[in-house]
Every structure is written in structure tokens, then in C-alpha cells.
């Protein structure tokens, strides 16, 4: 999982404005309903609008159709991260994410093209690991032709001139900004991996506290990354997540940690932990994907997570752990380390939330490389002084 739907955290303790500002990506979707509202959502919490569909049972998947937009669900996102290197070995991490939030389950046909059904926002970032520079940008647009849209037939999502498109069996990613640009092509060597039985990915113990979620891991990627005015031809591997749901998070849940790792042995690992209001673990799960793409779903009993080495953001004041000790049952522990601090996104043009999304290395306890990946941590502002 990458993002979890907390779209309508509508009851329980009122979420106050200043909290929202620091609640991380988790809150993006809470905000979407009253976008940038900076005001407490008011409707009942886990009771979604009756019209929206919920992820309750496993579903049938049909690709490339299911790469596209899923009307009826309140939130949906397409998430690309990857670790790249140029010929000289200069290392880059990248992130390109598109979010869709629907106001109504099905857009009605209206004479004006501005007729609103959903809005889109997108975040992109480049970690220039060698240059120790992290650049990022966010945009928001209402869904309409020319501004932002997603196909309901295939992977074709765009916001202004940022896009992710499936063409000729590969995904083309583009995001051009003044400060950086991403122009990459990801090959798709194997079918998507469902994150849960029938793609149903639980976020809690209650029925309906779930999303539909699949990943395409270990995508051979090539193209160019431009940063600080220099263009680099790069190669590497990418990870793609596509997830949709309606109100998946419970009222007591707040913030999460998510790790995606492409390991040297050819397997992949995704682990997520949803925290409760007090910062403790509320739900822990994950998927181990073998080299041939077969998933093994992990439960909380299978995973041990431990964070350390907090880095305090000078921008948001959030304190993000830079190292995680991950131990799966019956396997040697892995140390997941952020390749550089400062991989924090602030999103003034979209949701005003701050979160950490950065490239990581995986090493064993002796320090030997075991692979690379991406780490996401949200809602760490509250933990200031509280000690994560």
C-alpha cells in the first residue's frame, strides 16, 4: 500500500485545523472532501456516502482495464517510485503520484466541461542522492479535459503536462518542472501482483476497512532525470501501486509507515503499518513477492518493525525515523536506511500536508547491501516531542 484512504474521518475526535496541517498524506484524502478546507470534516466518520462503493470482498481483475479509473470509489491513486543510476553511477530516487478524489460516485453529464465529478492532484519528487538535493512539486486541478483526467479503460492518467500512460506494453512517466523533470519508460515484465486475496487489502479489523490494491514491482526503467539544470540518462527499477477505496481508515487510525523493497535475491517486500492516534501500531501487514511474482501475504505476527535515528525537518518540524529494522519471521533482520535526510514533501499547492517519501538502501546487520527501495512516513508532526 502506499496511501490509505481516510477520506472521511468524520466522527470521533474532531480533527482540528492545526492538526490537519501536519497530518501527512494520510490526511490528504480527508482534506479532499473539503479540499484545503483546513476545517474539520463534519459527516459521520466511518459511514461513507451510501452511493460510494466500498472494498468489502475480493474482486475480479481485468487488465489493462483495471489500470484505469474506477468510478464509484471515492479515492484512487497511481503511485510510481524508483531507484535510478546514470552511467557514471550517480544515484537518483524518484516519485510520481497521481491522486483522484471523487465528490460523487459517477460524474453526471453536464453542458459545461467544468461540471465537477472529481479532482486530481499530483506530487513528484527527485532525490539526487549524490548531489544531496531533494526537489519536489505538487499540483491540483479539477477533473476536466485539458487539466486533469484518468482513463477508465487503461493506464492513462494526467494532470496538466504530468502523465503516466501505458503505451506499447510500457508505462511512460512524464513530469516537467522548472526545477526538475522526469521522463522515464517502465517495462512491464510480468503481470501485476494483487496486494491481498482478490486485491482486497485490509487496513484494519473492521469489514470495509480496506482498499483494492495491486502493485507492479521491479519494473525495468530507463529514461532521463533532470535536476539542477542537468539532464542525466538513467536506468533502474521502479515500483508501481494502484489503489482505490472509499473511506478505508478507521476513526482511531492516524498516519502510517510504508516500505517497498526490491531485494537482491529477486524478491520484493511491501510492509505497512497503520498507527493509532497515540502513535502506536494499529494494523501491521505486508506482502512478500517471490522472484517469479507469487505473493505471500504477511500478518502482524510475521513482522517486527523498529524505527530509529530520527531526523527533524527544519521546514515542518516533523521528526522522521531514518532507519528501520525489519524482521520477518524466520528470516535474518534487514536494516532499511534513508539514503539521505530531507526527503520530505511539503504540499502548499494541493493539500498543505507534509510527509517523508524517499529512497532507501537495505543492508544486513553487517552492512552488506541487500537491495533498494522506498520509504513513506506520514503524520509525524504530532510526534514532535512525543518520541516516535
Amino acid at each position: 500500500m502506499t496511501f490509505i484512504d481516510v477520506t472521511l474521518r468524520k466522527n470521533g475526535p474532531a480533527v482540528r485545523t492545526h492538526h490537519l496541517l501536519g497530518m501527512g498524506i494520510l490526511m490528504i484524502l480527508a482534506l479532499v472532501n473539503s479540499i484545503i478546507a483546513q476545517s474539520p470534516p463534519v459527516a459521520p466518520a466511518t459511514a461513507p456516502s451510501p452511493e460510494f462503493l466500498r472494498a468489502i470482498a475480493p474482486r475480479e481483475w481485468n487488465f489493462p482495464r483495471d489500470h484505469g479509473r474506477h468510478d464509484g470509489y471515492k479515492t484512487e491513486w497511481w503511485y510510481f517510485t524508483g531507484n535510478m543510476r546514470d552511467e557514471a553511477g550517480r544515484r537518483f530516487g524518484y516519485q510520481l503520484t497521481f491522486f483522484r478524489t471523487a465528490y460523487i460516485p459517477m460524474a453526471t453529464a453536464r453542458p459545461s466541461a467544468w461540471g465537477l465529478g472529481d479532482i486530481y492532484f499530483a506530487h513528484a519528487a527527485v532525490s539526487d542522492v549524490s548531489g544531496k538535493v531533494f526537489t519536489f512539486k505538487d499540483h491540483l486541478q479539477r477533473g476536466r479535459v485539458g487539466l486533469a483526467m484518468a482513463s477508465d479503460q487503461t493506464l492513462d492518467v494526467s494532470l496538466l503536462d504530468w502523465s503516466a500512460k501505458l503505451q506499447d506494453g510500457a508505462v511512460h512517466l512524464q513530469a516537467k518542472e522548472k526545477e526538475f523533470s522526469i521522463d522515464l519508460t517502465c517495462a512491464i515484465p510480468r503481470p501485476p501482483t494483487l496486494q491481498g486475496k482478490g486485491g482486497l487489502n485490509a487496513k484494519g479489523l473492521q469489514p470495509g476497512q480496506a482498499s483494492y490494491y495491486y502493485s507492479m514491482t521491479r519494473l525495468p526503467t530507463h529514461g532521463t532525470i533532470e535536476t539542477a539544470g542537468k539532464k542525466f540518462t538513467v536506468e533502474g527499477i521502479s515500483w508501481m501501486d494502484h489503489e482505490f477505496s472509499s473511506n478505508a481508515l478507521g476513526a482511531n487510525q492516524s498516519g502510517w509507515d510504508w516500505i517497498s523493497l526490491s531485494l537482491a535475491d529477486g524478491s520484493d517486500l511491501m510492509i505497512y503499518r497503520i498507527r493509532n492516534q497515540t502513535g502506536g501500531s494499529d494494523y501491521l501487514s505486508g506482502t512478500q513477492i517471490s522472484a517469479d511474482g507469487q505473493p505471500r501475504y504477511l500478518s502482524a505476527d510475521d513482522i517486527q518493525l523498529q524505527s530509529s535515528k530520527p531526523w527533524k525537518s527544519p521546514v515542518s518540524g516533523g521528526s522522521y525515523p531514518q532507519e528501520w529494522r525489519v524482521q520477518l519471521k524466520g528470516r535474518a533482520p534487514m536494516i532499511v536506511r534513508s539514503v539521505m535526510p530531507g526527503q520530505e514533501l511539503t504540499t502548499p499547492h494541493t493539500t498543505n500536508v507534509n510527509y517523508f517519501e524517499g529512497a532507501v538502501d537495505v543492508v544486513d546487520e553487517q552492512g552488506h547491501s541487500m537491495g533498494e527501495g522506498y520509504l513513506e512516513m506520514t503524520d509525524y508532526l504530532k510526534s514532535l516531542g512525543g518520541g516516535m
Binding site: S34, R110, P111, S112, A113, Q141, L147
Partner: protein
């Protein structure tokens, strides 16, 4: 110290002397004060009222703009959605929001009269960095927010509008937008906070899509608002704009009204200054009288060793006392007056320019200071000559028994010479190459002053004439009146001049207004040579803003009573950096079959629809375009180079108008819309009844009105009369100022001659004869004033019409002398003289 004590002690004595004098002459002092106060009040009132109107407009623009500093407009009025998308895709790093902003007629479910409001369609997501009051996510609950964003026809009203129309949350309202009607549901009544609360009184907010649908403006925006912080950013955005689009600052927009009404304001200010000018004469008159009355005392003081400086200081102190008291009373009076005037001025601005809703008039420090400066200036200027005279008082004056005639025939002649020189120089001024209306005001001032200086000489001649008539007939009171006026010409001359000034203003302004009125009437008659007008129901600022449904045009044209229906298209258009009116019709037919009021026209060849245009007189005046010149009009299909075929009179718009052939316009501007139909009907059909019938039929399905041109003309004349109401008020106020002056000086003259009366009475002069003498004096002054005022007023009317109005608005108004105003002012002055003579007659 000792010397200082002496000096101050002496000055104290002098000021006690002044106080004593004014206590004895309370009424004169009061009249002088009223004169000064009125002069100040008029200026302050006009200033404050105009400022309240301009300020309310500026406030409304700024409240609507909030943080947006600039807006992108299309030169043809509509911005396609694609332009916004194109700009967004360029990712200019500045907050940018698409806006649909239309005037609408809104009616609630109740019986309240529909009101013109502003339908504002916004994209709340783009608005975040620009405006707070559009942040519906802060105002509406989640359910209503969703409906606001996703359901058609959902709107939010500001509380002021809702209260005015008796609309509640959940009500359905009816909107007339452009040529369509629509219904909308009120989701919520919002209360803007802060400054916006008093300014946002007529806003209906909705989502961009809803606004496009309600306004029938699918795919188009009215403007794009931006927040730009530097000239550099302005340059970047300007460079990014495709051709046909302009970037304007909000400041520019909020000063639009100031620019629009500049000429109107200048006219009002000038008239109010004329009232102050009259006040200067009154102060002069009053001070002069006081010098005369105290000639003996001043002579004695000089004998006792008072220096010229000390006497001058007394008069300066007196003048300043008048200035302060008159100024303060004037400012307060002006503020009260402005509360009355703001309504009149706002009505005119609403009628002619833009919709405003001025709040209460506040008395600003600026207005206070201005009022005091004005009163001080008029008092000091008015006191200058008397002051000189006082300081020149010789000790021998102490032994002269009464005030003497101090203006000899020679000095009257000399003043007359100066007056004539001023009149000639004002003619020279007119001949100078200038376009400024200010020159016109200087001319008017010189003419007024010139005639004022001629007054003593005319009075002298009138006295001679009266004496010559009265002497053989043995009419003693008349003889005495004539000699009385002549002997006290130093005082009466000024009174005559002041009265003349006020009356000439009255005659001049009313002659001009009356000429204008009849010119407008004739113009309307000729310009709209039709019987019935069919146009949209919604007029925005008295301008037609939307087009007629083609079905309406078809229906009207097919009516059996219709002889001919002339189709008009008129729209705002930007030409040479100014907004003008671009109108299109069948010009060839108009020229052939109708008598369009023409100033000048190409006579050698017929109108060529593809290559010719006609321009209005104000546009020709402003752009200096002549017959045969070519005019370049940018259009969506490229620039059109057309030749000026004719210049037509146009009192409809001071902005200027270009009229071209409909087919040329339709092809060049991709627009075959029609705003209005001017219909000629068969002879014998009653236009009022037919128009009513059409209205009834058409209004069932379309927001249109049909009205007879007879009624249209009445409406136009009503607007005209409303417009000049303020002017009328001003001229009467100036009259009031003059009345105070006239009464004051008559009083002084009469009281100064009490001793003469006693002697005459002892010699057997009856009370009736005394009264006749007083009245004769008054009437002589009044009639002389009226005589000169007739000439001066007519001259002023010509300057007002041919110089000031022409240079301000570009209109030439055929003006003729109108003797009825001369007679009116004669009667008025006579009445003032009678009233002013009664009091002294009783006192004596």
C-alpha cells in the same frame, strides 16, 4: 516685554472694537458668514458625495478582488476555457483563477421587485490563494459543498441581497441572464466578513460550471484573476498571453469609475467652485462695508497713533474669524448636504455609468482641511482690497461725517476696461489649441470676472438713466435711489457683481441644460426613427449587454403590423486603449431611409458596407479622426481597415461609438447576434398598445421587453433630468449665496444712511417715500445685476456648451439665448431686492 505688552494690549483693543462692530451689525455679519459657509458647503458636499460614490465602487472592486491583483480580459469580451487551460499548462507560478462574472436580474419567491445582481462563477480550488469569501469549504457543510460543486443550479447568496429580496436558504430563485432565464436553488445565505461585508451586497456565488450553464456561456469565461507581485511577473504573464488578451490591474479596474466620471466630476467641482467664487465677492463686499462703516473710528485710531499694520492686522483677524467660523459651519453643512447629494449623484452614476451602492458619507479630514483652506482663501482674497483700504485710512477720515462715494466714474470705467480686456482674453483663450475642459473653466471664470468688473460701470449708466427719467418727473425716491447707488458704488458695485455672478451662473447653466435637453430630445427623435423597441429585459448599467434569441427576431419580423425592423448589434469594444461602443446595423439602409443626425458626412459617394464605417462625434473629437481617414479595428479574424464615412451626433455615449455594416461585423467578429430591434409599424397602429401586446406574448418565453419609442424617449428624458438635478441644486445654492450678499449690502447701505433719513424726514419725506427709496435702491441693484447676468449667463452657456461639455464629453450642444431665464432671474433678483429692502425700511 513692555513693548510687546503694549502691542498686544492695543491689538486687544482693536479686536474688542471689531467685536463691538459686529455685535452692532449682527445681521450683516451673519449674512456674510452664511455666504462663506454656503460656498464652502457646496464644495465639500460635492467632493464628499462624489468620493462616497467612487469609494464604494473601489471598495466593491477590491472586496471582490481580495488578493487578486490583476485580471486577464479578452478584447472581444469572452475568454474561451481553452485559454485558461493553455495558461495553466504553461505552469506560470502565480495563483490564477477562472471567473464567470455576469450581471443578472434576480427574483425571489416573494413579491419583492427583481434586482440586478452579480452572478459569480468560481473554481474554489483555484480561488484558494486569491479570495476568502469564495472558500465555500469554510462556509458550507460537506453535503452542501458537494452539491455546490457537483449539482447544476446550486447557488449561494450574500445576506444583503437575500434580505433585500426576501430569499431564504432552500428557496428557488429566478435569474435572467443574458438572453435566457434560469432557475437556481439557494444552498446557503453567506455573510461575508470584514470589509467585504459592506461591499459585497449583490453577489450570487456558484461553481464555474453552474455559472456557465446558468448564463448560457458554455466554454467561455469572463476573466482570469491572478495574484502578481512585481512588474517582472506582470511582464511574464503579459508575454504568455495570446494576441487579443490584455492584463489589467485591479487598481486600474477600481479607478475605472473615477476615470469614467472624471468629466462629470469636473463639471460638478467647477460649479461648486463657482459658488465659492461668489462667496469671495460676498466677503469682499462685507469687509468693504465694515471698512466704510468704521471709517471714522479708523481715522480716530490713526490720529491716536495706530499704525497701518495694526489696522491691517485687525482686518486680517476679522477675515480669519469669518474664515474659521464660516469654514467650520460650511464643512459641517457640506457634510449634511452631501448626504442629500450622494443619492442624486449615485443615481446619475447608476443611470449612466456603473451600478454602485454608496454607503454613508463620512466627513474626511481631507474634506475638513479643504473646506477651511477654501474659506480662508476666499476670506483673505475677499478681504484683501478692503484691508488695503483700511490700512490706507488717513487720520482726516475721522472728521468726515459719512461714508463717502469712493468709486468715481473714472474707476468704474477703469474696472470696465479691465473687464472687457478679460472678456477679450477669454476669447483668445478659446482660440488657443487645447482640448482641455479646464481651459473652458478658466474661460468661464474670466467671463464671470469680466462681467463682474463691468457691473459698476453699467450700474453708473443705469443710475444716470434713472436719474434722467426721474428728475423731470420729480420722483424723489427714485432720484435718491439712483444717487444712493451711485454714491455708494464702492459697496453696491460689489453687491451687484456678486448677485450678477450667481444669476449668470443660474442663467448660463440653465440655458445650457435646456438647450441640451431639447438637443437630446431632437436627437432621440431622429436617431430612433422607429415606433417600437424590442430588446433584452436585462439592461446592465443601462447598457444592453446580451443578445436576443433568434426566435424573438423571427417572431417580431413576421408580425403583420411591422413595416420594417432594423436590427442592431452593439457591444463594448476596446479601441485605442479605451472602451468604446461597437455597433452594427444595416448602415446603408439607415442612411438612405432615415435621418440619422449627422455632423459631417462624405457627400461624393454612397456608403460602402464593406469598407466604410461611421463614427460618433465624441470619438471623432477624441481621436481626431476626420472624414476619409482610415480606422483600424482588430477583430478575431484579423484587423479591419475601414474608412470613416460620416461623423454622427451621439448623445447616447460619451465613450465614443463606431458603427459599421452588420454583415461586415458578423463576418469579421464571428458574431451574428442582435441586441435590439427598432421596429417601424404600419400607419394607424397604436405603438403603445402593440408594444404591450408583444411584450405580453414574448415575455412568456423570453426575457425581452417591447416598448414604444414614445415611452423610451420619456425614460431617456427622465434620466437626463435626474442627471442635471445636482447641477440645478448647485445653481440655486449659488443663488442663495448671492441673496445673502445682496441682502447684506442693501442692509449696510441703508443703515449707513440713517442720518440722511433723519434729515430728510425732518424736511417732510414720508415713510412711503422712504420705503420706495429703499426699494428703488434694491431694484436698481437687482435689475442691473439681472441685465448684466443675462449677457454673462448667455456667454457662460456658450462656454459651457461649446467648450466645457464639448471638451469633457465630446458633445456639441446647439445653444441659443433663452430669454425666459433672463426674465426668471430678473424676477428672482427683484424678489431678493424686495425682501432685502423690507428689513432696513422697517429699521429706518
Amino acid at each position: 516685554m513692555k513693548v510687546g505688552t503694549k502691542v498686544f494690549g492695543f491689538l486687544g483693543f482693536l479686536s474688542r472694537m471689531s467685536g463691538g462692530h459686529f455685535r452692532r451689525h449682527r445681521l450683516e455679519a451673519l449674512l456674510c458668514l452664511i455666504g462663506v459657509a454656503l460656498g464652502v458647503a457646496v464644495v465639500v458636499a460635492i467632493d464628499s458625495a462624489v468620493e462616497a460614490c467612487v469609494g464604494s465602487f473601489r471598495g466593491a472592486v477590491q472586496s471582490l478582488a481580495e488578493r487578486s491583483t490583476h485580471s486577464i480580459f479578452a478584447s472581444d469580451g469572452k475568454i474561451s476555457d481553452d485559454i485558461f487551460i493553455q495558461l495553466q499548462r504553461q505552469k506560470l507560478p502565480y495563483p490564477m483563477a477562472p471567473i464567470v462574472d455576469r450581471s443578472v436580474l434576480v427574483a425571489g419567491p416573494g413579491s419583492a421587485e427583481p434586482a440586478v445582481a452579480r452572478l459569480m462563477g468560481v473554481d474554489i480550488f483555484s480561488e484558494r490563494q486569491l479570495r476568502a469569501f469564495t472558500q465555500m469549504q469554510l462556509t458550507l457543510d460537506a453535503d452542501r459543498l458537494t452539491r455546490f460543486l457537483t449539482e447544476p443550479g446550486q447557488v449561494v447568496l450574500v445576506d444583503a441581497l437575500a434580505t433585500r429580496l426576501g430569499i431564504k436558504s432552500g428557496d428557488t430563485i429566478r435569474l435572467t441572464v443574458g438572453r435566457g432565464r434560469a432557475e437556481a436553488r439557494v444552498l446557503e445565505i453567506i455573510k461575508p466578513t470584514g470589509v467585504a461585508q459592506s461591499q459585497l451586497t449583490d453577489v450570487i456565488l456558484c461553481d464555474l460550471a453552474t455559472a456557465q450553464e446558468l448564463a448560457g456561456a458554455i466554454g467561455s469565461l469572463d476573466r482570469i484573476d491572478l495574484h502578481l507581485e512585481s512588474d517582472e511577473e506582470v511582464k511574464v504573464v503579459t508575454a504568455a498571453l495570446p494576441p487579443g488578451f490584455v492584463l489589467r490591474s485591479t487598481g486600474q479596474r477600481s479607478s475605472t469609475l473615477g476615470e469614467l466620471i472624471q468629466a462629470y466630476k469636473l463639471n460638478l467641482n467647477a460649479l461648486s467652485l463657482m459658488a465659492s467664487f461668489v462667496a469671495v465677492f460676498i466677503v469682499y463686499n462685507s469687509m468693504l462695508i465694515s471698512v466704510q462703516q468704521r471709517a471714522t473710528s479708523l481715522g480716530i485710531l490713526r490720529c491716536l497713533g495706530a499704525s497701518r499694520f495694526q489696522l491691517a492686522a485687525t482686518y486680517i483677524t476679522e477675515a480669519l474669524a469669518f474664515a474659521v467660523v464660516g469654514g467650520i459651519v460650511g464643512v459641517i453643512g457640506g457634510w449634511l448636504l452631501s448626504k442629500l447629494m450622494v443619492g442624486l449623484i449615485a443615481t446619475t452614476i447608476n443611470d449612466l455609468y456603473v451600478a454602485i451602492r454608496p454607503g454613508s458619507v463620512t466627513l474626511s479630514l481631507g474634506a475638513f482641511v479643504k473646506g477651511l483652506v477654501l474659506s480662508t482663501a476666499s476670506c483673505l482674497v475677499g478681504a484683501a482690497v478692503p484691508l488695503l483700504r483700511a490700512s490706507r485710512t488717513q487720520p482726516v477720515n475721522a472728521f468726515r461725517s459719512t461714508a463717502h462715494a469712493d468709486t468715481s466714474g473714472r474707476s468704474a470705467k477703469r474696472l470696465c476696461g479691465v473687464g472687457i480686456a478679460l472678456l477679450i482674453s477669454s476669447i483668445i483663450l478659446y482660440a488657443l489649441p487645447s482640448n482641455s475642459p479646464v481651459v473652458g473653466f478658466v474661460m468661464a471664470l474670466w467671463i464671470a470676472l469680466g462681467f463682474a468688473l463691468i457691473c459698476p460701470w453699467v450700474a453708473l449708466q443705469a443710475c444716470g438713466l434713472i436719474a434722467a427719467i426721474a428728475r423731470p418727473a420729480q420722483w424723489l425716491p427714485l432720484q435718491m435711489a439712483a444717487s444712493g447707488v451711485r454714491r455708494s458704488l464702492g459697496i453696491t458695485g460689489v453687491a451687484i457683481a456678486a448677485t450678477m455672478l450667481a444669476m449668470s451662473m443660474n442663467v448660463g447653466v440653465r440655458t445650457m441644460v435646456s438647450s441640451f435637453r431639447s438637443a437630446l430630445g431632437n436627437w432621440v427623435e431622429q436617431r430612433f426613427a422607429a415606433d417600437i423597441f424590442v430588446g433584452p429585459e436585462l439592461l446592465v448599467n443601462h447598457k444592453i449587454d446580451s443578445t436576443l434569441d433568434p426566435e424573438v427576431v423571427r417572431w417580431v419580423t413576421a408580425q403583420p403590423q411591422v413595416q420594417k425592423a432594423i436590427e442592431y448589434r452593439a457591444r463594448d469594444y476596446e479601441y485605442a486603449g479605451k472602451s468604446i461602443l461597437l455597433s452594427a446595423t444595416d448602415v446603408g439602409d439607415l442612411l438612405h431611409n432615415h435621418s440619422l443626425p449627422m455632423k459631417q458626412s462624405e457627400s461624393r459617394r454612397p456608403f460602402d458596407p464593406a469598407h466604410d464605417v461611421m463614427i460618433s462625434e465624441p470619438l471623432a473629437g477624441r481621436t481626431k479622426l476626420k472624414i476619409g481617414d482610415s480606422i483600424n479595428l482588430p477583430s478575431p479574424t484579423g484587423p479591419h481597415r475601414l474608412s470613416v464615412y460620416a461623423i454622427f451626433f451621439d448623445f447616447g455615449s460619451e465613450r465614443g461609438q463606431v458603427m459599421l455594416d452588420r454583415h461586415t461585423y458578423a463576418a469579421g467578429w464571428n458574431d451574428d447576434g442582435i441586441n435590439s430591434l427598432h421596429v417601424r409599424i404600419m400607419p394607424g397602429v397604436n405603438p403603445e398598445r402593440l408594444a404591450a401586446k408583444w411584450s405580453e406574448h414574448l415575455r412568456r418565453d423570453y426575457p425581452v421587453v417591447a416598448n414604444s419609442f414614445g415611452n423610451v424617449k420619456i425614460e431617456i428624458m427622465k434620466v437626463f433630468d435626474r442627471t442635471f438635478k445636482v447641477t440645478e441644486v448647485l445653481t440655486w445654492l449659488a443663488g442663495g449665496v448671492a441673496f445673502c450678499g445682496l441682502a447684506g449690502s442693501l442692509l449696510s447701505i441703508s443703515l449707513a444712511r440713517r442720518k440722511d433719513y433723519s434729515v430728510l424726514s425732518a424736511m417732510g419725506m414720508s415713510g412711503r417715500q422712504t420705503a420706495l427709496w429703499m426699494l428703488g435702491q434694491g431694484l436698481l441693484i437687482a435689475w442691473t445685476s439681472a441685465l448684466v447676468a443675462a449677457a454673462a449667463g448667455t456667454a457662460l452657456a456658450y462656454v459651457l456648451a461649446y467648450v466645457i461639455q464639448f471638451r469633457s464629453f465630446g458633445w456639441s450642444i446647439p445653444t441659443h439665448p433663452l430669454p425666459r431665464f433672463w426674465i426668471e432671474s430678473l424676477l428672482l433678483a427683484s424678489a431678493a431686492a424686495v425682501v432685502a429692502a423690507i428689513y432696513p425700511a422697517f429699521r429706518i
